[in-house]
Symmetry: C2
Protein backbone atom coordinates (compact mmCIF):
# COMPACT_ATOMS: atom_id res chain seq x y z
CA UNK A 1 0.00 0.00 0.00
CA UNK A 2 1.32 3.40 -0.91
CA UNK A 3 1.27 6.33 1.46
CA UNK A 4 -1.18 8.15 -0.77
CA UNK A 5 -3.55 5.21 -0.49
CA UNK A 6 -3.13 5.27 3.25
CA UNK A 7 -4.28 8.87 3.51
CA UNK A 8 -6.98 8.43 0.89
CA UNK A 9 -8.51 5.65 2.95
CA UNK A 10 -8.31 7.67 6.15
CA UNK A 11 -9.92 10.58 4.30
CA UNK A 12 -13.00 8.47 3.61
CA UNK A 13 -13.67 8.10 7.29
CA UNK A 14 -14.09 11.83 7.74
CA UNK A 15 -15.63 12.72 4.41
CA UNK A 16 -18.89 13.70 5.99
CA UNK A 17 -17.40 16.01 8.60
CA UNK A 18 -16.44 18.77 6.14
CA UNK A 19 -13.25 19.76 7.86
CA UNK A 20 -9.82 20.78 6.80
CA UNK A 21 -7.08 18.63 8.23
CA UNK A 22 -3.32 18.67 8.35
CA UNK A 23 -1.46 15.55 9.39
CA UNK A 24 2.28 15.45 9.95
CA UNK A 25 4.17 12.25 10.55
CA UNK A 26 7.83 12.02 11.44
CA UNK A 27 9.36 8.56 11.48
CA UNK A 28 12.87 8.30 12.83
CA UNK A 29 14.75 5.08 12.32
CA UNK A 30 17.98 4.99 14.26
CA UNK A 31 20.69 2.53 13.59
CA UNK A 32 22.38 2.99 16.91
CA UNK A 33 20.37 3.23 20.07
CA UNK A 34 22.78 5.82 21.37
CA UNK A 35 22.08 8.37 18.66
CA UNK A 36 20.03 11.27 20.00
CA UNK A 37 16.27 11.25 19.86
CA UNK A 38 15.25 14.78 18.92
CA UNK A 39 11.65 14.09 17.98
CA UNK A 40 10.05 15.88 20.95
CA UNK A 41 11.91 19.12 20.18
CA UNK A 42 11.28 18.65 16.47
CA UNK A 43 7.57 18.39 17.19
CA UNK A 44 7.50 21.85 18.78
CA UNK A 45 9.56 23.35 15.98
CA UNK A 46 7.35 21.93 13.24
CA UNK A 47 4.22 23.23 14.94
CA UNK A 48 5.80 26.65 15.11
CA UNK A 49 6.61 26.54 11.41
CA UNK A 50 3.04 25.56 10.52
CA UNK A 51 1.76 28.51 12.51
CA UNK A 52 3.43 30.77 9.95
CA UNK A 53 0.76 29.63 7.48
CA UNK A 54 -2.30 28.87 9.55
CA UNK A 55 -3.68 29.77 12.95
CA UNK A 56 -3.66 26.74 15.19
CA UNK A 57 -5.07 26.74 18.68
CA UNK A 58 -3.59 24.25 21.12
CA UNK A 59 -6.86 22.34 21.33
CA UNK A 60 -6.86 21.74 17.58
CA UNK A 61 -3.70 19.67 17.77
CA UNK A 62 -3.36 16.09 18.89
CA UNK A 63 0.09 14.60 19.22
CA UNK A 64 1.07 10.95 19.42
CA UNK A 65 4.58 9.63 19.86
CA UNK A 66 4.88 5.90 19.32
CA UNK A 67 7.95 3.77 19.73
CA UNK A 68 7.89 0.30 18.35
CA UNK A 69 11.42 -0.32 19.57
CA UNK A 70 14.49 1.60 20.61
CA UNK A 71 15.28 2.05 16.96
CA UNK A 72 12.01 3.26 15.46
CA UNK A 73 10.00 6.24 16.69
CA UNK A 74 6.94 7.63 14.96
CA UNK A 75 5.63 11.08 15.83
CA UNK A 76 2.15 11.98 14.61
CA UNK A 77 0.64 15.47 14.67
CA UNK A 78 -3.01 15.91 13.74
CA UNK A 79 -4.47 19.35 13.22
CA UNK A 80 -8.17 19.83 12.52
CA UNK A 81 -9.47 23.22 11.46
CA UNK A 82 -13.02 24.38 12.10
CA UNK A 83 -15.14 24.45 8.97
CA UNK A 84 -15.58 28.19 8.69
CA UNK A 85 -12.08 29.07 9.79
CA UNK A 86 -10.66 29.18 6.28
CA UNK A 87 -11.72 30.64 2.99
CA UNK B 1 -3.24 -0.94 9.34
CA UNK B 2 -1.79 1.52 11.80
CA UNK B 3 0.85 4.05 10.87
CA UNK B 4 3.35 2.35 13.09
CA UNK B 5 2.78 -0.89 11.18
CA UNK B 6 3.28 1.00 7.96
CA UNK B 7 6.69 2.22 8.98
CA UNK B 8 7.62 -1.05 10.60
CA UNK B 9 7.01 -2.85 7.33
CA UNK B 10 8.98 -0.29 5.33
CA UNK B 11 11.79 -0.66 7.86
CA UNK B 12 12.13 -4.33 7.02
CA UNK B 13 13.01 -3.52 3.45
CA UNK B 14 16.09 -1.62 4.48
CA UNK B 15 17.10 -3.66 7.52
CA UNK B 16 20.26 -4.87 5.88
CA UNK B 17 21.52 -1.47 4.81
CA UNK B 18 22.42 -0.28 8.31
CA UNK B 19 21.41 3.30 7.80
CA UNK B 20 19.71 5.94 9.84
CA UNK B 21 16.62 7.36 8.22
CA UNK B 22 14.25 10.20 8.87
CA UNK B 23 10.93 10.29 7.06
CA UNK B 24 8.53 13.23 7.23
CA UNK B 25 5.07 13.09 5.77
CA UNK B 26 2.67 16.00 5.59
CA UNK B 27 -0.86 15.25 4.43
CA UNK B 28 -3.06 18.25 3.78
CA UNK B 29 -6.74 17.69 3.27
CA UNK B 30 -8.51 20.81 2.12
CA UNK B 31 -12.22 21.19 2.25
CA UNK B 32 -12.35 24.04 -0.21
CA UNK B 33 -10.26 23.96 -3.33
CA UNK B 34 -9.66 27.65 -2.95
CA UNK B 35 -7.87 27.42 0.36
CA UNK B 36 -4.16 28.05 -0.07
CA UNK B 37 -1.72 25.23 -0.69
CA UNK B 38 1.34 26.01 1.39
CA UNK B 39 3.00 22.59 1.28
CA UNK B 40 5.91 23.63 -1.00
CA UNK B 41 6.92 26.43 1.38
CA UNK B 42 6.30 24.22 4.39
CA UNK B 43 8.65 21.64 2.90
CA UNK B 44 11.54 24.12 2.88
CA UNK B 45 10.74 25.29 6.39
CA UNK B 46 10.63 21.79 7.82
CA UNK B 47 13.96 20.89 6.23
CA UNK B 48 15.45 24.00 7.78
CA UNK B 49 14.12 23.00 11.19
CA UNK B 50 15.58 19.50 10.91
CA UNK B 51 18.95 21.00 10.06
CA UNK B 52 19.00 22.42 13.58
CA UNK B 53 19.42 18.86 14.83
CA UNK B 54 21.27 17.03 12.08
CA UNK B 55 23.50 17.88 9.16
CA UNK B 56 21.73 17.14 5.91
CA UNK B 57 23.32 17.51 2.52
CA UNK B 58 21.01 18.19 -0.38
CA UNK B 59 21.77 14.84 -1.96
CA UNK B 60 20.61 13.01 1.17
CA UNK B 61 17.07 14.27 0.76
CA UNK B 62 14.42 13.01 -1.61
CA UNK B 63 11.13 14.87 -1.83
CA UNK B 64 7.85 13.72 -3.31
CA UNK B 65 4.68 15.76 -3.56
CA UNK B 66 1.64 13.74 -4.56
CA UNK B 67 -1.84 14.98 -5.21
CA UNK B 68 -4.63 12.48 -5.38
CA UNK B 69 -7.15 15.24 -6.02
CA UNK B 70 -7.54 18.96 -5.59
CA UNK B 71 -8.40 18.32 -1.99
CA UNK B 72 -5.68 15.95 -0.81
CA UNK B 73 -1.94 16.57 -1.07
CA UNK B 74 0.74 14.39 0.46
CA UNK B 75 4.28 15.66 0.84
CA UNK B 76 6.98 13.11 1.63
CA UNK B 77 10.53 13.91 2.70
CA UNK B 78 13.04 11.10 3.00
CA UNK B 79 16.42 11.70 4.57
CA UNK B 80 19.03 8.96 4.65
CA UNK B 81 22.17 9.40 6.71
CA UNK B 82 25.47 7.73 5.91
CA UNK B 83 26.31 4.93 8.30
CA UNK B 84 29.28 6.56 10.00
CA UNK B 85 27.85 10.03 10.07
CA UNK B 86 26.41 9.71 13.54
CA UNK B 87 28.28 8.72 16.57
Amino acid sequence: MSLLDYFRSSKKNTASTAKERLQIIVAHERRRRTSPDYLPQLERDILEVIRKYVDIADDQVSVTLEKSSDELSVLELNVTFPEDKRG
